[in-house]
């Protein structure tokens, strides 16, 4: 067992740290869930990309550094420790890009990935529908064959970032006669500004348009924007979902930095004993998540793919993030009510964690059935 990084990896850390120290904005950007903030965060993606820090784990040909999993974890630790902005490009970078690496064509990767890396194209997700949430396979939006491509019809909802994003990716029913709900689905990418697309932003709890409804009325998608084989989208999407829950959506660096800020906040309030245990638990949880991730990364680098244990991860980080922010707001006392603060913004964001990327109830079913081996039953 060894938790020390190689000298080369530590040199990479030093390089990242000094770049971030020179470039991270000294005042926080406006909330990325607003038009002004979205634009500012997009510009930040461009600045990251200019020195090849936006997608360090990607191949150099697409704008990355071929950095590997361990260096990506190191970069993320440095990124959040430096207080750098949230990543508006995250949906594309951590969900669509891994799907393209696994299932896309070389033409798709060459066309889609470089503008994703620079922030020129920001991606939204288009999974859920009014009648298909946790039961995603029951989705009804159609992709109908037409000359040279597909016509999308139907409605998507809770589409994160879609209020301001450029393009979206998701699953559509291409064969309504397939014998099972998860068959006959096709995974494709489409332009949110294409004719036939209506985007209706939805205000989250604090009113900011963090997601949107998408109404699709014969939206044309060329064949070149289908990922993988038509009708095989479910399996492809599940590989994306495993990435989302697994190692790459929420890196430990984010929570290590948040826990350190919580400790500083507690100390700045005189270290009240009544809050000490909760602050200690936040520190313990951040370390646990970091070490759990290093163990998972070590297994992955040994050749064991990330499996259903990704669900342990998702429940842990989403509940951890919420409890951490609740602790901060309680520490702030009456000031905790003020909404235009980093803690309040983080709190509102964290409330959604147990809901997206597969609700925590679905994750607990996966843990019970696939890790513990309990019998399937009615949901």
């Amino acid at each position: 067992m060894d938790l020390t990084h190689s000298p080369a990896d530590e040199a990479f850390r030093t390089e990242a740290r000094s770049w971030l120290a020179a470039h991270v904005p000294s005042t926080p950007l406006p909330s990325l869930e607003t038009g002004e903030g979205f634009a500012a965060h997009r510009a930040w993606e461009t600045e990251l990309a200019a020195d090849r820090w936006s997608v360090v784990s990607w191949p150099a040909g697409y704008g990355g550094r071929d950095a590997g999993l361990l260096r990506w974890l190191i970069f993320e630790e440095e990124y959040y420790a430096a207080g750098a902005p949230g990543r508006v490009g995250q949906n594309g970078i951590s969900l669509l890009a891994p799907t393209l690496f696994a299932h896309g064509t070389e033409e798709q990767r060459a066309r889609v990935l470089p503008p994703m890396a620079t922030g020129e194209v920001i991606w939204a997700q288009a999974w859920s529908e009014p009648e298909a949430g946790s039961d995603l396979a029951s989705l009804r939006s159609r992709a109908v064959r037409t000359r040279g491509g597909w016509l999308l019809k139907g409605q998507k909802t809770w589409s994160s970032r879609a209020a301001f994003a450029d393009r979206a990716f998701g699953l559509f029913r291409s064969d309504p006669d397939a014998p099972k709900p998860h068959q006959g689905l096709t995974y494709l990418m489409f332009d949110l500004r294409a004719p036939g697309v209506t985007v209706r932003p939805i205000g989250r709890l604090d009113g900011k348009p963090a997601f949107a409804e998408l109404f699709l009325d014969d939206v044309f998608v060329p064949d070149e924007d289908v990922i993988g084989e038509p009708g095989r989208g479910w399996r492809i999407a599940m590989s994306t979902a495993a990435d989302e829950r697994g190692l790459t959506l929420r890196s430990p660096g984010r929570y290590l930095a948040a826990a350190e800020r919580l400790l500083a906040l507690w100390q700045a309030h005189g270290g009240p004993a009544s809050m000490g245990d909760r602050v200690a638990d936040a520190l313990i949880g951040a370390r646990a998540y970091q070490l759990f991730t290093y163990a998972a990364a070590s297994r992955f680098l040994d050749g064991t793919p990330i499996g259903p244990e990704a669900s342990l991860n998702k429940v842990f980080w989403s509940e951890y993030d919420l409890v951490l922010h609740e602790t901060a707001l309680d520490l702030l006392g009456r000031e905790g009510e003020v909404a235009d603060t980093r803690w309040a913004e983080g709190y509102v964001f964290s409330l959604a964690g147990p809901l997206y990327a597969g609700t925590n109830e679905i994750q607990r079913d996966i843990i019970a059935e696939r890790l513990l081996g309990l019998p399937k039953g009615r949901r």
Binding site: L3, E77, D277, A288, S298, I367, A368
Partner: protein, 318 residues
């Protein structure tokens, strides 16, 4: 960076698991609870022979230490099998005696081989009625006690017998070395993790077999979700344990102790609830782990003491 147990460490765990499974450890623990120490002593020799205590003792005294990762591996197995006796206290005694050369050469080799067992206490000493070496922590000093009074007080865990040390004895160390307590705390965290893993395994097996309403109760979401939460707590305590064993930093050990003991105790509550009334009986073996999950929380660092140590020392970014 490779944060995984080695093949040798995993083989060590498997060999202990096989030994303790074959030894019918629950029966040994029940006899131990009744003050019948013969079977427990025999098992003690065998686990010592398998190398359970050697990682805590330097090579100069016939051990193989310090090997805290191997110690943690071993103590997870001791917890999984509810091995009775002052296992953690023998590790602590070894750590204390390692700093007292005038006694170490005489007392440590028998602890490694299992010929002797040691305990460490203050008001009470665990299993002091049968331990061969009794150390006492009093007034911030370590004493070599002449022994314990023969009567014992019961513990919430019947396999833990609480004896009262006799007054007097020889001064061993003028101050309690904090590093030594760290070894006890790490071993307790490992034991607690093992207790929690056993409770989870046994409960998963039970709810897969117990039929109500015509189906296994393990097919119900209310049951699944409690067990999923137990699995999450235990699987996030595990890397804290081994991370602490690697660094042996007091705050890391304290964090591991909090997480492992909280996870084990939460799993105990879930295990009892999902077993129903059968789990509440002394005769059902689940009780061996249920009761241990409670008492390990307070052993060698209460949750409050450990969280305070985390606040003093745990720094996440360096």
């Amino acid at each position: 960076m490779r944060f995984l147990l080695t093949d040798e460490q995993r083989a060590f765990a498997r060999s202990l698991d096989a030994l303790l499974t074959a030894a019918d450890t629950p029966s040994v623990a029940r006899a131990w609870s009744a003050g019948e120490h013969t079977a427990g002593r025999a098992l003690w020799s065998r686990i010592a022979g398998a190398g359970v205590f050697a990682p805590a003792v330097p090579e100069a005294y016939e051990g193989m230490g310090p090997l805290p990762v191997e110690l943690a591996v071993a103590f997870v197995e001791l917890g999984r099998h509810a091995v009775p006796g002052p296992v953690v206290e023998t590790v602590l005694a070894a750590a204390l005696l390692s700093g007292a050369p005038e006694h170490a050469a005489r007392l440590l080799p028998p602890l490694v081989s299992g010929k002797a067992m040691a305990t460490v206490g203050s008001a009470y000493a665990l299993d002091g009625d049968t331990a061969d070496v009794v150390l006492v922590l009093a007034d911030g000093k370590v004493w070599l006690s002449p022994g314990c009074r023969p009567e014992v007080r019961p513990s919430l865990d019947p396999a833990r017998r609480l004896a009262v040390p006799l007054p007097g004895g020889e001064l061993l160390c003028p101050a309690v070395p904090p590093d030594a307590v760290g070894w006890a705390r790490l071993a307790t965290a490992a034991q607690a993790l093992g207790v929690g893993l056993a409770l989870l395994d046994r409960t998963v097996a039970y709810v897969g077999q117990r039929i109500q309403f015509g189906v296994p109760i393990g097919s119900f979401q209310a049951v699944k979700h409690r067990l999923a939460d137990a699995a999450i707590a235990l699987e996030f305590a595990r890397p804290l344990l081994f991370g602490a064993a690697l660094s042996m930093a007091p705050a890391d050990i304290a964090a591991a102790k909090v997480a492992a003991c909280e996870a084990a105790y939460a799993t105990a509550r879930t295990a009892l609830q999902l077993h129903g009334a059968i789990g509440y009986t002394a005769e059902y073996d689940l009780s061996l782990w249920l009761t241990k999950a409670r008492v390990l929380r307070g052993a060698w660092g209460t949750p409050a003491e450990c969280r305070a140590a985390v606040l003093r020392g745990l720094r996440l970014h360096g």
